[in-house]
């Protein structure tokens, strides 16, 4: 088994707040991340795929395939955006690092054949990161 890990940087703004909660409750649960005007991060998504090498190309996926998929489906949707306002799923789901990582997983999981998606790690700051492995039970 061989795995390839690729890193993609993007920047986005978000607010951690539920629309059905008032400001006070959002501040209590999400702290300063609930500032309604939003704040931003330089995110890094680490995408891990595994599978069998193509014997002719010697690659897991054709060269540039994952870059193209991530650019179109993930970066095109998230980079430079205000997630709560510009990305439909985050009009309802709170754009926590956890929910963004799961959304990237859900976006990519059907797109990387013949490889398989193993994990999406989302680094939100130098101190905080999450990793989604496709189920709620870690491998």
């Amino acid at each position: 088994m061989i795995r390839v890990i690729q890193r993609y940087d993007f920047s986005a703004a978000h607010v951690l707040a539920r629309r059905d909660w008032d400001d006070e409750r959002n501040r209590t649960v999400y702290g300063k991340c609930a500032n309604p005007a939003g704040h931003g991060h330089n995110y890094c998504a680490e995408v891990t795929v595994e599978g069998e090498l193509d014997p002719r190309s010697g690659r897991l996926l054709p060269e540039g395939r994952l870059d193209e998929i991530v650019a179109r489906r993930v970066l095109g949707e998230l980079d430079g955006r205000f997630l709560n306002r510009d990305v439909s799923i985050f009009e309802t789901a709170v754009p926590t690092a956890e929910n963004i990582a799961r959304h990237i997983w859900d976006t990519l999981v059907g797109e990387v054949a013949p490889a398989r998606l193993v994990g999406v790690r989302l680094i939100e700051t130098r101190n905080n990161s999450v990793e989604y492995l496709g189920s709620e039970v870690p491998a």
Binding site: L16, V29, Y30, G31, A93, V94, P95, T96, A97, E98, N99, A101, R102, R126, N127, N128, S129, V130, E131, Y132, L133, E136, P138
Partner: protein
């Protein structure tokens, strides 16, 4: 879902030769859990940060592991024993079974990983 919070702290210790030395330690703490459907979070990061400050920073930051803590009276303060100690302190303070892994780097060239 795995969630990782990192922190730095500095500590000294007496090594096997009796010399006193110290490091800037880097610690990564990884929690495993389900996303709370209400908040979209696995754990409250502020609570995790405060727990790490209470359990690790307050005990070890700018302290001597050998002189200022009771943990290394009968064992050497190696990267491995220190990492095991940190795992057990955090494991006792966190909700049962939620600690997935710690990684302790006494220097940039060395990392010790402890899992369950």
């Amino acid at each position: 879902m795995l969630l990782t919070r990192r922190m730095d702290f500095s500590a000294s210790y007496r090594d096997a030769s009796g010399a006193t030395t110290g490091h800037n330690y880097e610690l990564e703490v990884t929690i495993s859990g389900r996303i709370d459907p209400e908040t979209g979070m696995v754990v409250d990061l502020k609570e995790l940060k405060e727990l790490m400050e209470r359990e690790i920073e307050a005990r070890f930051d700018h302290r001597s592991l050998s002189e200022d803590t009771p943990y290394f009276r009968d064992r050497a303060p190696t990267p491995e024993t220190f990492a095991e100690l940190i795992f057990s302190l955090l494991d006792a303070a966190l909700p049962k079974g939620s600690l997935h892994r710690i990684r302790l780097s006494p220097t940039r060239e060395l990392t010790v990983e402890v899992t369950r």
